[in-house]
Symmetry: C2
Subunit: 205 residues, 2 copies
Amino acid sequence: MEKKGTLIVVSGFSGVGKGTVVKRLVEDYGYSLSISATTRAPREGEVDGREYYFKTREEFMSLIDYNGLIEWAVYVDNYYGTPRAFVERELAAGHNVILEIEVQGAMNIKSQYPDSVLIFLTAPSAEELKNRLIGRGTEDPAVIEKRMKRAVEESEDMEQYEYIVVNDDLDQCVKDVNSVIVAKSCRLEENKEFMNKMKAELKAL
Amino acid sequence: MEKKGTLIVVSGFSGVGKGTVVKRLVEDYGYSLSISATTRAPREGEVDGREYYFKTREEFMSLIDYNGLIEWAVYVDNYYGTPRAFVERELAAGHNVILEIEVQGAMNIKSQYPDSVLIFLTAPSAEELKNRLIGRGTEDPAVIEKRMKRAVEESEDMEQYEYIVVNDDLDQCVKDVNSVIVAKSCRLEENKEFMNKMKAELKAL
């Protein structure tokens, strides 16, 4: 069964471990990771083409003009976007492409790629999420307060997603996300071609 | 997240290995196996309550009268049915219940349990299915002919199912069926209660 790959959009609470889950999906299941373009300056240790594609504002505008981004947004005066060429090439090659993105970008992607799968990662409970946001206890209480407010906002986005996956045990979470993708490929509507072939061949045997 | 279990209905081509797949799902993932009741006489080696619940015709009629069967059907003058009590008890306890059944029974179950998941098992190709039906080459050509005709009929049923899972490699097939069930439990609509709790708790923290 030769098939196009699936585009997987992963969002979730800040601090829930999205980056780690995505990394593991790439490592364990060979998903292709979509890397964002941004106009923000590289931080220490960041490598162009690994964390981000670092672009000048002019380059970024040009990408927008030439429809080179699936979606883009502005955060804190910097532009962030998803390059179209990589995603389309990988999907056409039958690879699953995964990208980590905010809710607005996720909605934009769904409207352009109705076959994409939107997954929201959550901690197993509010208490546990708070613990993760508090981190090692070295954070300023004002910072924690701000993070908790953000978590309340993020929780309003959950209903926009198709799947909710709990990141309690990392291994299990990675398996569960992969299960969502496997299940999609088993859906009846994804197998019409296979079924028709099977039926025709059985009659001909 | 305490949840009701999922009712999983497995059908598929004769000779595709349904029984083995179901057995492995019970062993590997702890699914509860629903055992059918039947009026047919036990064959050698069959144990009451393991292969089937063996019933007299009178007992079977009584089960029907008292709504004790989810579905039932007649094959070659014998009655076969799915006892309701076991299925409901196991689902209520949060266990996934699996049963192997024909297409008509599967449709009956879906209408009574809209949350059930209908899975059709197939060989990877018509040729491979034929090879399995030919078996060890000891079969009467007329028997094989009959089986192939049946396979053509069975292929017409595929479209009635929600998921098509290929049994090529047994381990992979068992994993894929389980993925379908895991993915279902991650669907948004299965997590409304969890989300509402999460939202309320985050606001209260």
